[in-house]
């Protein structure tokens, strides 16, 4: 069981980073459905960087950058040129998928260099790692996982306790009000879309470099979309996002682990579970009544100051 849950934490990370990224994007008022595409871009650039340079740190930077560039395209089209967000996001997904296949084509089957794999080896956190059960599961992980925990904390503080965080929420909730209050709304949108895309890129990189340290096509397999649903389930809250990602992380590896857990159903059927569960979330979250749990008021509405 502990092994399974430890592996679940690993499977949590791609979802977590992507969900956090999309939370930032949506909180500032944009619905970017290109998560899947940005993750794929992050995955392929992260992998190719580590493959070519062997430097894991550079790889993370490249992955962040790749996701951020994808998000920047989205921002340019939707914020500046006011294109339809849904279609632009979908296009970004198609584009990202194509791009990752195109760039990754010659690397299929290649492995992450040994040194880099070691870099992402398990590290025990002193004290915390000694806590029975919990410590074994959560605090004997790789550095990337700890980065994920840190991101949850950082974003929680940012969103709820800081001035820019408050301004960002205002932009997402009521763009016109934020603008009238002197907040540079387009700058806020750009920054959060791009930063959100970067996080999605990191999520993709985790899949491409750590989860499976060997390049294969379409590593993301719908996790970007699950992340979009997780944002809703988490009510735009980073801590709840961690919980949600963990549950879905566990679900997503059930297929591989069921044998050792004494369950015997076709792996393909078990692999349906995360998708079915996502559908369930989407249905359940239709009925959210508390105002604070609802999507940002101006989510996916284009804003042009003079258009009233």
């Amino acid at each position: 069981m502990i092994d399974f849950l430890t592996a679940a934490v690993v499977a949590t990370m791609p979802l977590l980073f992507a969900t956090l990224g999309e939370i930032l994007t949506e909180k500032s008022g944009s619905l970017n459905l290109g998560v899947e595409g940005m993750m794929l871009m992050g995955a392929v650039f992260g992998f190719s960087t580590v493959y070519n340079t062997g430097n894991p740190f550079l790889a993370l930077c490249a992955a962040f950058l790749a996701g951020a560039v994808g998000a920047f395209i989205f921002a340019l089209i939707t914020v500046t040129f006011q294109g339809n967000q849904v279609v632009t996001g979908l296009t970004l997904t198609i584009f990202g998928a194509g791009f990752s296949r195109f760039v990754g084509d010659h690397m299929i089957g290649s492995s992450v260099p040994r040194a880099a794999q070691d870099f992402f080896g398990k590290v025990k956190i002193p004290l915390l790692g000694d806590i029975p059960f919990v410590g074994q599961i959560f605090f004997r992980q790789d550095v990337f996982v700890y980065l994920g925990y840190i991101m949850v904390a950082v974003l929680s503080v940012y969103i709820y306790k800081t001035r820019p965080g408050l301004n960002m929420k205002a932009v997402g909730e009521n763009t016109a009000a934020a603008d009238a209050s002197g907040i540079p709304v387009n700058l806020y949108k750009y920054l959060h879309i791009v930063a959100g895309g970067g996080l999605c890129g990191l999520g993709g990189a985790y899949l491409g470099i750590v989860s499976v340290p060997m390049w294969q096509e379409d590593v993301v397999t719908g996790r970007g979309w699950i992340a979009v649903a997780l944002v809703i389930l988490a009510g735009w809250n980073p801590i709840k996002a961690l919980v949600g990602s963990f549950v879905f992380g566990a679900l997503s590896i059930l297929g591989l682990w069921q044998g050792s857990m004494g369950i015997h159903i076709s792996q393909d059927i078990v692999n349906m579970f995360p998708y079915l569960a996502t559908i369930l979330i989407v249905i359940i979250s239709t009925h959210k009544n508390r105002k604070e749990d609802r999507p940002p008021g101006n989510l996916s509405d284009p804003y042009f100051r003079e258009e009233r």
Binding site: K161, T162, R163, P164, L166, N167, K169, A170, E173, N174, A176, A177, A178, D179, A180, S181, G182, I183, P184, N289, K291, E292, R294, G297, R305, E306, R308
Partner: protein
């Protein structure tokens, strides 16, 4: 008054495409002055002020604030120069508290400390005599509380120049008096206040000087004490007009629509209409008055079948229409016209042309699966011609038309079905005087033809002049049903706020919209 004016706008011109919204306008406002900017809808008042608040930028001309020429590129710049604008549609974040709404966009420490803000808010509130609860969420506020919050917000930003766009439009007479006290208070503190309005009596009461705009041009600036209302009207409209709304007297009236104990709940099970009973007669205009969000929308929509009553009966000529959707009501042969408040979002399809908007009511009469446009084309032509709709053609998307012409298309279509009941929600909102009177005439014509009309309005003067009777709603309950000729504005204003706990109910439904 000091020697340098707070605001000086010189030869300001602003065009939108082919329309000149502001043509060479000059305006001077002094510190400690209440300046009224008067004009019809579309005269260019808001455009002019939006150039001060950084929403628009002038094509030509220049602006001096406290004697210095400035370039106001964004709302941020305006705030820096001490200019605060309170927009007609409040710009507040619903899910945030009053305090958070005040501090957004402000410079300060990276980590939020709300204590300091609360302290400063308290100081400002006391100085200007404003009442505000910093911890209250905006969605729990009444319209006038929201307005107060907007005022505190601009004062917090150190505004010395206050611009208020139609601040009284959504207030009761009592709330208006309260607002005027606050404005006078600000004047005494040396602020320059500009009020945009088209309500003449208020202009006479509150302002020191008046600048009248007409069709984008500045007509004149005058001392309020030197001028009389009829002169102002002439300056606004450009000709002498009789500003008296006719009330057609029709003797014979029969019962038409009967509400008894109707209750409507919203999704969260709040009572939006609570035990409402009244009767609408033929050849009657029944006015509906109330603070925004008092149940007017629900009243209109429950008749049309767009919302369902959870209790009570609505009898139309004896037939109960509760529980029926719009199509079923239509199937019963009940001809009902409805001009909703949100014209482009509900009554019309904004991106479609006049013909396809006329089709909207026609197509269900057609047999078979095919869509026939022929009769709708004829009808569109007829509406355009008889109501003098200004449009390049009947294939122009309706969103391209001006507010008045959009309203004519909508009302024209609804009248064309020869309704027995005509429901109109704020039918003259945003229209100029000429267009408004055209609408009043149309309604009076319908009344003469025996139609029972429900007229939801916000301008109490209009309600008093046009309607036969007025039903007052407060928090979803009927708090009065009066004969228009036997009551006063103040009396209605009082009934509008009966039983409201801090206006919570009104606010909950989003009275800002």
């Amino acid at each position: 008054m000091t020697s340098t004016p707070a605001i000086r706008m010189e030869r300001i011109t602003k065009t939108f495409g082919t329309v000149t919204a502001n043509d060479n306008i000059n305006l001077t406002v002094w510190n400690g002055e209440i300046h009224a900017l008067l004009g019809e809808n579309g005269a260019g008042k808001s455009t002019l002020m939006n150039m001060l608040s950084g929403i628009y930028r002038p094509d030509s001309g220049f602006i001096l604030i406290d004697g210095k020429q400035v370039n106001i590129a964004s709302p941020k710049d305006a705030i820096k120069m001490g200019i605060g604008m309170i927009h007609q549609h409040f710009k507040l974040v619903d899910v945030m508290t009053a305090a958070d709404n005040i501090i957004i966009g402000q410079k300060g420490k990276f980590l939020l400390s709300r204590k300091d803000a609360h302290q400063k808010i308290k100081e400002i509130s006391e100085r200007y005599g404003l009442e505000i609860d910093p911890a209250k969420k905006v969605y729990e506020m009444s319209v006038s509380e929201k307005q107060t919050l907007e005022i505190v917000k601009v004062l917090y930003r150190g505004a010395r120049i206050l611009i208020m766009d139609e601040p009284t439009a959504v207030l009761t007479p009592q709330e208006i008096q309260q607002l005027f006290r606050i404005i006078r208070n600000m004047k005494e503190q040396g602020c320059a206040v500009v009020i945009i309005t088209h309500k003449l009596n208020e202009v006479m009461e509150i302002s020191d000087r008046i600048t009248v705009l007409r069709q984008g041009k500045s007509i004149d600036t005058i001392e309020t004490k030197d001028v009389k209302v009829p002169t102002l009207i002439e300056m606004m409209v450009g000709r002498r007009v009789e500003l008296k709304i006719k009330r057609e007297e029709v003797a014979e009236k029969k019962a038409l629509l009967n509400f008894s104990h109707v209750t409507v709940l919203d999704k969260e099970k709040h009572e939006m209409l609570n035990d409402v009973s009244f009767e609408l007669k033929t050849s009657e205009i029944l006015g509906i008055a109330g603070v925004a969000g008092s149940g007017q929308k629900e009243l209109c929509e429950v008749i049309c079948g767009l919302q369902q009553a959870s209790g009570g009966n609505i009898l139309f000529e004896g037939e109960d229409i509760v529980g029926k959707d719009p199509y079923e009501i239509y199937k019963l042969g009940i001809r009902m016209g409805f001009v909703p408040e949100d014209r482009l979002g509900m009554g019309l399809v904004a991106s479609m042309d006049i013909v396809h908007n006329v089709v909207l009511k026609d197509y269900r009469m057609q047999k078979g699966v095919l869509l026939h446009r022929k009769s709708s084309i004829d009808k569109s032509k007829r509406i355009v011609e008889s109501l003098e709709v200004l449009t390049p053609g009947i294939t122009t998307p309706v969103r391209r038309l001006s507010g008045g012409n959009i309203q004519k298309v909508l009302l024209g279509r609804e009248i064309d079905i020869l309704p027995k009941v005509l429901i109109t929600a704020y039918p003259v909102r945003g229209l100029d005087i000429g267009a408004s009177f055209k609408i009043y005439d149309l309604l009076n014509d319908q009344k003469k033809n025996g139609v029972g009309i429900i007229f939801v309005g916000e301008d109490l003067d209009v309600l008093l002049d046009l309607c036969d009777r007025i039903l007052i709603l407060s928090g979803g309950k009927v708090t009065g049903l009066v004969n228009a000729q036997e009551t006063t504005k103040e009396a209605i204003g009082y009934m509008m706020t009966v039983g409201l706990e801090e206006g919570f109910r009104a606010a909950r439904t989003g009275g800002t919209a």
